[in-house]
């Protein structure tokens, strides 16, 4: 589980990196003279489309045949999902002569289910796709339908409104395989901490590793509270990566990292660096000072829960997650004041997530791809549809703000304690301009952070590296178990003799075949960087 978490983390980070990098490339003069590449020319086609208003009508697709579509979303349905979908189908049959059977994978063993849906060739017309659900792998294997020819006709509004860069990120082997959500996000890791305690004890503003240490120390000494009270590995590991500027590749690359953003091809296994040695020695002192408990690796408690009860001070969250946590705490524990330190400040670098971090794709076996695209186009661009399928039924699930732009929950006339809240797995078709809820749960500090992230944003070059580890599968598994057994206690400073432990760790990694994995990652990364036109 822990490795999985870490893997996911790495995937995310690298995705973010890659997306921002690509975005930068795209906004520059990325004059692709490869005219056969249809994905390179969406804006021209789109403008052509809008100019010829009358001819567009002639192109209006035929919807005379009634069609029932099957869609799959990744996640859980909301409690009153059926009512919402029934309403949606009413609108759809009037507008597009279509109904949709909306299915949810739920989170139970979702990887297996998702794989089966695609592998068995079931008749699914649209499915959630994402870089963290192996979009690139599936696209490469031909599980999705190429959309280049269909998009301009059947989803014209989406085709013209999604940026070239976003389409590019959804492109594999020159074909577009997904319709990315238009919802740029920055998800740098960071620490939520108790700012009221920092002020109370006159501790320094958190801005680097030293001030973090001073803060943890101050909390421990003055309050007698274990600052990271729960699972602390994520806190420490992400801090290590971020403070060194290490970037993981293609999602989770375990111990393999690029040494910095500026030198993406300088790829190493971090346990063999002197920086790692210095870091784990520092962590040993931190552990001795009692910044976390000695059973932290086996602890199942979230450090955030301890903050709620006043028994902890620090919790690892990515930026939107921190927003959700902080706003939640403002409601449940208004006396606790929290602050947030994003690790992106170590190097003043943020990478947006890839556009295909959340997307919708059409499986190859879809019987009605055209109609499905039309529905998606409507869903993404018609506020009536978008509101219904994102926020539920007006009056029951929300009511409109006075300005008519944002929604209020719970709706007028509904008691807060009876209110369930409508949550749907709408991530795959979110559009920022259509949103009526602010990112990060409406946390007041988020806008400033977002500005900060945008100003230092660079394209995400690492997330697009496609790796399935097939040639080095056994080595990778062995390396992962070595990380679990030797790497994690070392990272947490839970070993009696650090030097000896580092030597053992390195020896075990080599025996597990870390060099084969390294070579594989390097090859894949170089291939991808070549394709992205990086030096």
């Amino acid at each position: 589980m822990k490795t999985k978490i870490k893997t996911m983390g790495t995937v995310l980070v690298s995705t973010a990196i890659m997306a921002s990098m690509l975005a930068a490339c795209g906004s520059g003069n990325n004059n692709s003279n490869n005219s056969s590449n249809a994905s390179a020319s969406p804006s021209t086609e789109a403008s052509g489309n809008t100019n010829s208003g009358n001819t567009a009508e002639a192109k209006t697709p035929d919807t005379s045949k009634k069609v029932e579509l099957t869609w799959y979303l990744l996640g859980d349905p909301a409690p009153d999902q059926q009512k919402v979908v029934a309403e949606w189908n009413k609108m759809l049959s009037a507008d597009l002569n279509t109904t949709v059977k909306l299915n949810f994978t739920t989170w139970t063993d979702w990887q297996t289910k998702y794989n089966l849906l695609l592998a068995s060739g079931e008749k699914v017309d649209m499915i959630f796709a994402s870089s963290w659900a192996d979009f690139y792998k599936f696209a490469n294997q031909g599980a999705f339908m190429p959309l280049n020819d269909l998009l301009p006709t059947y989803a014209p509004t989406t085709w013209s409104s999604v940026s070239e860069q976003d389409w590019k990120e959804a492109t594999v082997n020159d074909k577009i395989y997904a319709i990315p959500a238009t919802y740029p996000e920055y998800t740098p890791d960071g620490l939520v901490y108790r700012d009221d305690w920092r002020q109370e004890f006159g501790l320094p503003e958190i801005k680097d590793v030293d001030s973090i240490e001073a803060y943890l120390d101050g909390v421990k000494k003055n309050k007698g509270v274990t600052p990271i009270n729960g699972k602390a590995y994520n806190e420490v590991f992400t801090m290590f990566k971020a403070s060194q500027g290490y970037q993981q590749i293609g999602g989770d690359s375990g111990v393999i990292v690029a040494k910095s953003y500026d030198t993406p091809r300088d790829i190493v296994a971090y346990p063999f660096t002197p920086e790692f040695e210095a870091w784990v020695k520092k962590m040993k002192t931190w552990s001795e000072k009692g910044f976390w408990k000695s059973d932290t690796l086996s602890d199942q408690k979230e450090a955030g829960d301890a903050i709620k009860t006043g028994q902890g001070a620090v919790y690892w969250r990515n930026a939107p997650g921190a927003g959700g946590f902080i706003t939640g705490m403002e409601k449940s524990n208004p006396d606790i004041k929290l602050g947030y330190f994003p690790f992106s400040r170590f190097h003043n670098l943020t990478m947006p997530t890839l556009s295909v971090n959340n997307a919708m794709a059409i499986p190859k076996s879809a019987p009605n791809a055209e109609r499905s695209l039309m529905v998606l186009d409507k869903l993404r661009n018609d506020p009536k549809y978008y509101d219904l399928m994102s926020y539920g039924l007006e009056g029951t699930d929300y009511s409109m703000d006075a300005d008519g732009k944002h929604i209020v929950t719970p709706p007028a006339g509904v008691e807060a304690k009876d209110f369930k809240g409508y949550g749907i797995a709408s991530w795959g078709y979110r559009v920022e301009s259509m949103e009526r809820v602010k990112q990060a749960g409406g946390w007041s500090g988020f806008d400033a952070l977002l500005e900060e992230f945008k100003s230092q944003s660079k394209p995400n070059i690492f997330a697009q590296v496609i790796m399935d580890y097939a040639p080095v599968k056994s080595q990778q598994a062995a390396v992962n178990s070595v990380i679990q057994q030797y790497g994690m206690p070392l990272m947490m400073g839970l070993v009696p003799d650090v030097d000896k432990a580092i030597a053992t760790y390195r020896k075990q990694l080599e025996a597990a075949g870390v060099n084969d994995v390294l070579k594989y990652v390097q090859e894949q990364a170089n291939k991808s960087f070549d394709a992205q036109g990086l030096k």
């Binding site: 995937v11 089966l116 060739g121 706003t327 797995a425 991530w427 990060a440």
Partner: protein, 295 residues
């Protein structure tokens, strides 16, 4: 007249009872922890951890679990339905197969046994199986998908066959002489004599159906068809996914269910099946040993 016990026997009995008592308590403790956990306020679990006797008593978790009672009631209905139907049909088929295979005058007995036995060693794997059920049998999102795939198991057939072998052939012969057909023999003679075997296998199957969530996970898409265990697992799974980094991609308002809710859900889901044990226990022991000796 009193039967005098020897000293050693008394000591042995005392020790035996003491040991069994301790073991029983050890087995009961985790369950007690779940029950008491479900009655503890959430905040207390976070700050102090689980305790055997809650300091303060709270029904919040059950209120939350039953705030949408339709879902849980539907879950119960589905689970009871598939358990009853699945076990009844499954027992019927298994016992028929066992009867046929136990008859010495059936010519292709060995070949058929081998054919059944082979499937325990080799199988087509998950994806072909999935394709068979969704595409060729077209069972997706039906109750049949919850019942059919686990209806017959090679292991149960073999167990049944071995059990029926212990019934003397002469019974079958005598019935034949009286003019009974094969099905009458099976229904009127063999089945009543196979009580313990049927109870054992029936309990296996009932437990299997009651606890199954995997079929629902793969094949069921409408919420009203979810069995109870799947509902429970769904709650836990969404809590687990929140702890991974996938959560960063999801909406920040996506809240995990409380610890206490998980406990309450576990109590709700396991409750009834626990009461099934005392009723079938006496068959259970006998049936198991018969299978073991012959197997």
């Amino acid at each position: 007249m009193k039967i005098r016990m020897e000293r050693a026997t008394v000591v042995f009995n005392i020790m035996g009872y003491a040991l069994i008592t301790i073991l029983t308590v050890l087995c009961l403790l985790p369950f007690l922890l779940i029950v008491s956990g479900s009655f503890t306020p959430e905040i207390q679990i976070i700050s102090k951890g689980f305790s055997l006797i809650p300091e303060t008593f709270s029904l919040d978790a059950y209120k939350a679990a039953f705030s949408n009672p339709k879902q849980i009631l539907d879950g119960y209905k589905v689970t009871i339905f598939i358990t009853v139907v699945g076990t009844a049909v499954g027992l019927f088929l298994t016992s028929m197969a066992g009867f046929v295979l136990s008859r010495k005058d059936f010519k292709y007995r060995d070949q058929l046994s081998f054919f059944i036995y082979l499937t325990t060693l080799f199988s087509g794997g998950l994806i072909p199986w999935y394709i068979l059920i969704t595409k060729h049998l077209d069972l997706k999102d039906t109750y049949m998908a919850l019942i059919v795939p686990t209806l017959l198991s090679a292991w149960n057939i073999i167990l049944m066959k071995n059990f029926m072998k212990s019934i003397p052939d002469s019974i079958v012969e005598s019935a034949k002489i009286d003019g009974a057909g094969e099905f009458t023999i099976y229904l009127k003679l063999i089945l009543p004599l196979s009580g313990p075997g049927l109870a054992t296998i029936g309990l296996f199957m009932a437990l299997g159906y009651w606890n199954d969530w995997f079929m629902a996970n793969l094949f069921i898409t409408s919420e009203s068809h979810y069995p109870l265990q799947f509902l429970l697992y769904k709650i836990l799974a969404s809590a687990a996914v929140l702890k991974t980094n996938v959560a960063g991609n999801l909406s920040p308002t996506f809240q995990p269910p409380a610890e206490t809710l998980k406990m309450a859900a576990a109590v709700i889901a396991t409750g009834p099946i626990v009461f099934l044990y005392p009723f079938v226990q006496r068959f259970f022991v006998k049936g198991l040993t018969i299978g073991a000796v012959k197997g």
